[in-house]
Amino acid sequence: MGLTNTAPDLLPGTLDLLILRALVREPLHGYGIAQKLKVVSQDVLQVGESSLYPALQRLLASGWVTAEWGASENNRRARYYTITAAGKKRLASERAEFERLASAIARVLQLA
């Protein structure tokens, strides 16, 4: 593990969910996904490359995202990931499940 990719522990499967969500608006390359998660989470979620790329491969293999080579802002070849229809479906169900779980945890923390 590198020095700076000490992301807070994520619940299993959450990274997939976050990546899929990050791709809903527009296709992004790997760095773009990491940046977006970092910015939107106000620097809380710093996704390490060593977990980001395996996760992306997993999503590709499952058919939830597709990848295409395109030119990036620094004029180099970059792989842009696009969420597929199956990926959107997956995101919806994962998201519902996550919210159910999160609210359950929140309820326990408040009431128990």
Binding site: M1, G2, H29, G30, Y31, G48, S50, P54, S72, R79
Partner: protein
Amino acid sequence: MKLLRRLARWPWLRRHDAALAEEMEHHRALVQADLEARGVPPGEAAAASRRAMGNVTLAREDARAVWIAAWADALWRDARHGLRGLRREPTFTLTTVLTLALGITTTTTVFSVVDAELWRPLPYPQPEQLVQVYSRGRESRGVVEAIAVADLHAWRSEAPAFSDLAATGWSGRRVLRRDTAESVLVTEVTSNYFTLLGRTPIAGRTFAPGARHEAVLTEPTWRRLFNGDSSVVGRSIVVDDESLSIAGIVAADDSLGPEPDVFVVFDESGSVEGDSTRSPLYGGIGRLRPGATADAARAQLQAIRTRRAQAESDAGVHTIDVEDLRESNRSSNWRPLYFFLGASLVVLVLSAINAATLLLARAASRTREFALRGALGGGPRALAGQLLVEGALLAAPAGALGLLLTAWVVAALATALPESLLQHGSPIPVDARVAGFALAVTGATTAIFALAPMLFARRLDLSSALSQSARTTRSAGEGRARHVLLVGQIALTVTLLAAAGIFVKSFIALTHVPLGFDPANALVVRASLSGPRYATDPALVAYASSALEAAHTVPGVREAAIASSTPLGSGPLVRLVAHDAPRPAPGGEARAIVRTTSPGYFSTLAIRLVRGRDFASADSAVAPRVAIVNETLARQVFGGDDPVGRVLDFTPGGSPRWAARVGHAVVVGVAANIKEVGLNEIDFGDIYLPYAQAPEPFVELVVRAAVPASTIADALRQRMAHVDPAIPVTGVRTFDERVAHALEGDRFNFRLVGTFAALAILLAAIGVYGAVAYSVQTRTREFGVRLALGARPGRLVGAAIGRAASLGAIGGVLGVASALVIAILIGSALYVVPGEHEGMLFGVTTTDPTILASAFAGIVVIAIAAGTIPARRVARVDPVLALRND
């Protein structure tokens, strides 16, 4: 992890890896750019960005594992899906597996024989270094001459290309005396023979350098004579009155040709030249130093030989040949082996076509599945993957079954294969090499038959596939694909059928060949006279006359005679010229098989004397030399003239011994031709000499019995054994057996080709049956409508049968055409060429019109028969049910 690394070498994974590496480097560059934008100096930014990336290798391995897992997962999914489908249709599964197994077994079996005979490297260490060395005379048409021992010594010490050089003498029969006398085949070899080859003993040792009076037994001989008792090592045996010590036992190995029973060490210390009791050395076997070439070796040996010839003013400068040992001892039977391999490949292709048509029929009913998968994003690659996995599920058990059956068939064949076909390879191994071939064949077959449904599946469009009911779904492409395959299959079958017909006709023609003698109730017994007691002519003659007397005392014997060899037993060749005619150029002399016979030989075997007389007792050792020639030799030497009374000279071109022994002889008679080697032979010239004038140490006693020959065989052998108990009596055979033996190879050929044809017919019948059954099944609704509208069932059945017949006829025409093309391409290689190869066919042309017509008619009949069974179902279609069935 090791497995992962190995998988990582696969190209598709490598592509993934490269893409990932590029992607992550891009990521790092952006991090660096970001740092620089925030004012970090470029050098530090680069280092910091690398730190930020963490363990890139680990990340890549994790990503790679994801892909492998996905791939394995897809494979497993396809396999499960395929297995479910196959379990639902056990008849289809079983038929396909058996069909494929049939093809794989046939091809792998023939491959294992061909491989053992022709392709396997010699079973010795570094076989590529081994060469055969022959010394050929310049003047006598390249005949192999003896290698002088002095030459061998000079070559060994002065030719740097060789690390060692051994030599062998001719093999000959000798008598091994124990309690009884045994005739054994003995080869003399130099003491370094075994160490040079790298053959190790299974008991005792091989010859030590400079060994004398030692023998090495081969394993079968050791088991036969000594029951495999290893305490015989070191004991003495007597071979032709020479006492030899048994040095060791070697395992049987016929990769350099037939093995002798006993190897005797060649004594290199004495002189061979001029010692007539000793066999000279003929074949040299050398081991080259690493890096040395056969050409360099040849040049060195030739230079030494030429120098020595000049030094000794020896006229006999020989040409030295050095060639690869494997090539030099290559079987002469490659033509039939390649022919059979080709025929077996046809059977394999037929079985693959059958599997393809079966799969196509099944694929048709899965049209909707394929269309749906396509619509849901399964590209052609995913579909091909699925089909290949399903194909592999069928092919894997077929391949395994095929390999098992191969081992079984090869074991059964070991005894059935004629000697002519199996010269070097026995026992035929079924090992990793053969398994590898079976695997390759299975893989290639899978690719062909499994992807056949792709031919039309890619052209499907979803809306039409889904809008039609499953029962009527048939695409034009699919129908065409099936018909093309089926017609191709029928055509190949006709080709094999025609081949089988030609081989059968050839065999029948052979059984009707006039032999020139009468084999009925005739019998032969052989004795080899060797050792010092039979070193003189009178001793040989005395033995022969005692044997003849003994034979006459056996009840049932009508006539008997002595000969040095007998019909279908061949004999030594001599060269002859007419004494009173101009000499032909060297090499242009007539060649003839020489045979010495006692009076009565011709009448005993019922060989017709065309002119002149048989030998008489007056033709004794002191009488003028006489000879009888056969018709072929008479024509070759004397043309149309009457040979009786003319004189023949023996020239030294053939076996030099005969020229020296006989010199010349007066022709007293002309005999009819007989078959000497095989039934398909082109007539040999024969010359007969009186046994009393030229006795030979090989004595064959021929007997004509008044009763079936086999009934007196034992009595005859016993009587013969009493003549001289020290002489082994071997080879008791009836002439009927000899004729059957001569037909053995041809009988095997026609049976093998017949088996291939039978398999092809079976496969074609399954194919036609399947095609008609399938078309009837898919058109049930149509038939129902037509029946409801008043069509007569008989007409519909007739139409279905007619379809089968027309498939048969189209395939038949193509098959006859391809048979003709093949006949033109390889036909001439199938007939005997004297001195080059034995023929496979006799008395039939490869384009025999009767056979081609019969093959055509046969396939049409088979197609109709195979089509009739399912076609009759049409008549049983119930219109009401058929229409309601939607």
